[in-house]
């Protein structure tokens, strides 16, 4: 086992042992960071594997959050008000939003990848404006009092320990799923597309379908993060769907390591933690600092701060001898 994989597993172990070290309030705060971590990892998947830079990841995150909130509050006609159903529909909602965007952009004559970025920016801006102006889903104020997720044993996700363990399990499962996809033949095809789309097309792979599925998977995982966010904070607002959050997710992934799931995950935890620690002392300067730090990382560490450290690489059978 390589030391990188050991390090990655050690991180999971440390995260699993956190409840022993932290008080219930800190634990709840830390659980929130994990949600951001899932969102960053979902972006790193599409970024690292397919090379698509999505400036609208919050669109999928926000869709998941809104679907979760609407379902669990019984606001979607014909659908029972179940929190667990909301979670499932949140994932599907995120995946569907991504699939629609991908369907518009990848099929037919296809879109230059440089365009993908600005189309996703526009989509994120419009998503936020739509949510702000749509009275039924709460408009500018969003939706309050999203109920917690009931858990077996009579507790629910509002309990700090249970809430933390719930989010941690979902984070671990998401990581496993995305990692498995990376290492499966599916991931190999995606990397082929990243390197040379036309060649993959001429080899007979349906490039648009692969890209669409990859984006939908990324959107689904982002939707899961959004749904978990809605339960944790028990409210959603247009801010969860907009460009500002999309930008944040992008920064987390880039600072951690855009192509490595674990690096992006830790990037989100790290950046959010620093933000929490500094926001009181530097206030409005935070965004200036993080903007410049982001540029500096892009220039100096194109693989992110942790990209090389946590890159578990490919299974042996896929490596060069």
């Amino acid at each position: 086992m390589s030391y990188r994989l050991l390090l990655t597993l050690a991180i999971w172990l440390v995260l699993g042992l956190m409840p022993l070290a932290l008080g219930s309030w800190e634990l709840a705060m830390f659980g929130q960071l994990l949600v951001y971590g899932i969102a960053a990892a979902s972006l790193a998947f599409i970024w690292g594997e397919v090379g698509l830079v999505c400036f609208g990841q919050a669109l999928f995150f926000g869709t998941g959050a809104y679907v979760m909130a609407l379902t669990s509050k019984g606001m979607i006609p014909g659908i029972p008000d179940s929190a667990w159903l909301g979670l499932v529909l949140g994932i599907i909602g995120g995946a569907l939003a991504a699939a629609i965007l991908g369907g518009l952009l990848f099929f037919g004559v296809g879109l230059r990848s440089a365009y993908f970025g600005i189309v996703t920016i526009a989509a994120a801006v419009i998503g936020e404006r739509l949510a702000t102006n749509w009275r039924y889903i709460g408009g500018f104020n969003g939706l309050l009092d999203v109920p917690p997720l009931p858990l077996p044993g009579g507790t629910d996700s509002a309990d700090p320990l249970m809430g933390y363990l719930l989010v941690l399990s979902f984070a671990f499962l998401s990581w496993l799923l995305l990692l498995a996809l990376q290492r499966a033949p599916f991931g190999t095809v995606l990397r082929g597309i990243r390197c040379d789309e036309r060649r993959m097309l001429s080899l007979g792979f349906s490039v648009p379908v692969y890209k669409l599925v990859a984006l939908a998977v990324s959107g689904g995982v982002a939707g899961l993060a959004g749904a978990l966010f809605a339960i944790q904070f028990s409210f959603v607002s247009p801010a969860v769907i907009g460009l500002a959050l999309s930008t944040e997710i992008l920064i987390w992934a880039a600072v951690g390591g855009k192509a490595v799931l674990m690096a992006a995950f830790i990037g989100a935890l790290g950046v959010k933690w620093v933000e929490g620690a500094l926001s009181e002392s530097i206030g409005a300067y935070w965004l200036l600092v993080i903007g410049l730090a982001f540029v500096a990382v892009i220039v100096i560490f194109p693989h992110g701060l942790l990209g090389r450290l946590l890159d578990t690489g490919l299974p042996k059978r896929l490596r060069r001898p």
Binding site: A114, Y285, G291, V295, I298
Partner: protein, 285 residues
């Protein structure tokens, strides 16, 4: 008829400024294969330059060239401090401009505060055009923006600099082999694009509320217009601005701004879906 003319003039006003912003995006893309996501912040800097200069008692018309210079200078600084290290990595350059946009916008928030401020228009008396009363300042903007765009196109299509720039856009390695310093061209075009954005921000300042978010709001349609027009040639910016400017103004006069935005966005997606090279790609077929 009386409702149509002001609308047409509004559309022309918006389109002409959009054109200035879009030209900058197109030439930077052509040269560096990068969509400059900090373009909106150069626009912002132009608008705030007017605010500051007016506060210092500088006459409005003089603030326009100064805003142009401010945008250009900032563009030069960004290139010298950041872009020159990564111009050979276009994907990272796009990200870097994104980070820059965040930083510049926040710097403006820190200096001027997040709330919106007003810039006084130099011409307030409406004038009579074709029997209707219309803002004289907007008419002046139309004339100025079209004149500036004409100068930019003349530079691109009639001068040695323009020839070299278009050559570098068409075939960068070959232009280098003919003795063209493409890196210097990158810097000049990036700075020119930033200057045009700054200038546009300045002329639009009296018509918009000047706040830190105005840049993104104005440049987003410009992004769409370069997609629609095509990035293959600077002339594509004209087509794109006409389509986006016209449809935005028309849709916003009928529906709410949000619905208008969704309609224009969908229209843009539909156009690039079927014409990947944009409208300017049509002509070449």
């Amino acid at each position: 008829m009386s409702g149509f003319l002001p609308l047409a003039l509004d559309a022309l006003n918006y389109t002409s400024v959009l054109l200035l912003v879009s030209i900058g995006l197109v030439i930077v893309f052509g040269m560096m294969q990068v969509i400059n996501l900090a373009h909106g912040e150069f626009f912002l800097v132009g608008a705030y330059a007017v605010l500051v200069l007016q506060g210092l008692g500088v006459p409005f018309w003089l603030t326009l060239p100064l805003a142009f210079a401010a945008g250009g200078l900032l563009g030069l600084v960004c290139d010298a401090a950041i872009l020159r290290f990564i111009y050979h990595r276009p994907a990272d350059t796009i990200l870097a401009t994104w980070g820059l946009s965040l930083a510049i916008r926040q710097a403006i928030v820190i200096i001027f505060g997040p709330s919106s401020q007003q810039v006084v228009a130099p011409l307030t008396e409406p004038v009579n055009v074709f029997g209707i009363s219309y803002s004289s300042y907007r008419l002046a903007i139309i004339a100025i923006a079209i004149a500036v765009a004409a100068v930019v196109f003349a530079v691109l299509y009639k001068t040695a600099f323009g020839l070299a720039a278009r050559a570098a856009m068409a075939n960068r390695p070959m232009a280098q082999c003919l003795g063209i310093n493409t890196r210097r061209l990158d810097r000049v075009t990036f700075s020119l694009g930033a200057a045009l954005a700054g200038f546009s921000g300045a002329v639009m300042a009296p018509l918009m509320s000047v706040d830190p978010q105005m840049g993104m709001g104005f440049v987003l349609p410009a992004f769409l217009s370069i997609l629609v027009g095509g990035v293959g040639s600077p002339a594509g910016a004209i087509w794109g601005s006409v389509v986006i400017g016209g449809s935005t103004t028309a849709a916003a006069s009928i529906w709410t701004p949000v619905i208008a935005q969704i309609i224009v966005f969908s229209l843009s997606i539909a156009i690039i879906r079927f014409l990947p090279a944009g409208l300017s790609g049509l002509r070449r077929k």
